[in-house]
Amino acid sequence: MVESSRRKFLGLAGAGAASAAAAVAIGTGAFGRDEAEDTRQPTIDDDAPSSFVVYVTDARRGRMTVLVGTTERTVEDRGMAANLARMHRA
């Protein structure tokens, strides 16, 4: 299943502590103009996982698989994929 909403991605990730590297940084607008417009800090659920994996399967299309516990979900977010790629180069 592919979801294209960033809000869904953040919800999936639970915006947990481990998502700090990606989701929180993005939320603070640290990486790019698109993200700077989103000034709202993502909500961190109490039951969010402490760690999880985001696998960018197609960076150009922004396709990512989010692996939390024994579940997976595929989302599309070109901006986030671009930011993650930029973070890797930084």
Binding site: S51, F52, V53, Y55, L67, V68, G69, T70, T71, E72
Partner: protein, 458 residues
């Protein structure tokens, strides 16, 4: 081998490597079927101090299709959990292990069994079930047969289960077959000849880990009744086993492993030797990841098996009729991909329909043989392979002869098999612990202390 190290990727992951699958009407409880899935190939019995064990991070499954479409109607899932009792020692055991709950065993393993049905039903049949220790030697695991027997459990409605180390029951001449398909008894006829010799069992003295499950027949059929009529399609089930790993694995800086995501299949086995001998190397890993229902794209390797082309080349002049046979191998397709339909073998069928899928097909209405023939159906014993598979069936010889053309006349009466087709064999038999007549059927594993290491050859 049957399916030991049969594909490039799974050969690097022995804990998840299916080696053999068996399915047979239990000779001592003929209202039940025994399903066996073996894993972790070629275990050297003295392989301590970290002896062989099931993977806590692997999902092991035995699947049953009772509708013939190559999809699981019933899956039995086995999940393992290892406990370390004393984390201040390197020892597997700190004294003799006399009972299965002996505190001297430092690394006991437990498991759960869950039955999952295609309609979504799921039932936990047992939890915290004990795995026996491996057979270490007379000081550590005295009276091993009795000790392992304590791990036979009753679960669910009249199921029996055992998970643990067993003697390898599969026999094959590994050293010769992988040396350009040499069959020692016939190597005088090989392209690179040498004097004929007796076969050497390459699995001698080695162990495996077995999941053995005995299920009442009426819990495996689509109509919930024990089958009585051999010719009734509902009497036939298809069986295969799989192992799956989580989708992502992270090796943390501390060396600790973290796993994420759902389980993904990394190993599969239905009929012996299918992936090993028929599927080309570049597609073996793919095959391991798929369900039988996706086997249509592999049918070409059954209909035109590479080995059938090699035999006439490697044994010049021995297989002239096979060399001249150019039609697709409908006999092998029936045996391996659809089951044998009504009208091919009088009074017998194990046909599951037109869906091409590699499953071990068992017609449960065929009663156990009073005097089993290890060559099974081709020797007139319909209770044996390829009607299911018993632990004592000589599947290497059966499949060698089938590939060599012995079974072509079943579907093409105009074909005359080469005389060698009914004679070839690798010349091996079981040289490990003999099979038990009752559950769990596979013999006591070789002990580490008791086993003499092999002699290197040159």
């Amino acid at each position: 081998m049957s399916s030991h190290r049969e594909a490039p990727e799974i050969s690097k992951d022995p804990v998840a490597d299916n080696t053999d699958v068996y399915a047979f009407v239990s000779p001592d409880r003929p209202d039940t079927v025994t399903l066996i899935a073996n894993f972790i190939p070629l275990q050297k019995p003295d392989g301590g101090p970290n002896f062989y064990e099931f993977g806590d991070d692997v999902l092991y499954e035995i699947h049953i299709s009772n509708r013939g479409d190559g999809r699981a109607d019933i899956s039995y899932q086995f999940s393992f959990r290892t406990v370390v009792r004393n984390d201040n020692t390197f020892l597997y055991n700190t004294g003799p292990i006399k009972t299965i709950d002996d505190q001297n065993w430092n690394r006991p393993q437990f498991y759960s069994v869950r039955r999952v049905e295609r309609n979504g039903g799921s039932r936990l049949l047992g939890d915290n079930l004990p795995v026996p220790p491996v057979n270490i030697g007379p000081r550590s695991t005295p009276d091993y047969t009795k000790l392992a027997g304590q791990a036979v459990q009753r679960i669910g409605r009249d199921h029996r289960v055992f998970c643990g180390q067993r003697a390898e029951g599969f026999f094959v001449d590994l050293g010769s077959i992988f040396d350009l398909a040499t069959l020692r008894p016939f190597q005088n006829l090989h392209l690179i000849p040498s004097a004929a010799a007796v076969g050497v069992n390459g699995t001698q003295g080695l162990n495996v880990h077995s999941i053995v499950l005995q299920v009442p027949m009426d819990q495996l059929t689509r109509n919930g009744r024990a089958p009585k009529d051999v010719m009734d399609p509902k009497s036939v089930i298809g069986v295969w086993a799989t192992a799956s790993r989580r989708k992502a694995r992270i090796v943390e800086d501390s060396g600790r492993l973290q796993e994420y995501g759902p389980f993904r299949q990394v190993s599969r086995l239905g009929n012996p030797l299918f992936n090993e001998v028929l599927v080309p190397m570049v597609r073996k890993d793919e095959w391991n990841s798929l369900p039988p229902s996706d086997d249509k794209s592999f049918a070409m390797y059954v209909q035109k098996p590479e080995l059938a082309t090699l035999l006439p080349v490697l044994y010049p002049g021995v297989f002239p009729n096979l060399a001249g046979y150019k039609k697709p191998r409908a006999d092998l397709s029936a045996i391996l991909l659809t089951g044998i339909p009504d009208g091919v073998v009088p009074g017998f069928q194990n046909f599951t329909g037109p869906v091409l899928s590699d499953m071990l097909r068992l017609n449960m209405a065929v009663p156990p043989a009073s005097n089993p023939n290890p060559l099974g159906l081709v020797a007139g014993d319909p209770a044996g392979f390829p009607n299911g598979r018993r632990v004592s069936d000589d599947v290497v010889t059966v499949e060698l002869r089938a590939v060599a053309g012995l079974t072509i006349p079943l579907v093409d009466p105009s074909y005359t098999p080469d005389s060698a087709a009914s004679a070839i064999k690798d010349g091996t038999s079981n040289t490990n612990s003999w099979y038990f007549a009752d559950f769990p059927y596979l013999g006591t594993p070789a002990g580490g202390y008791q086993t003499t290491p092999g002699v290197p050859g040159t």
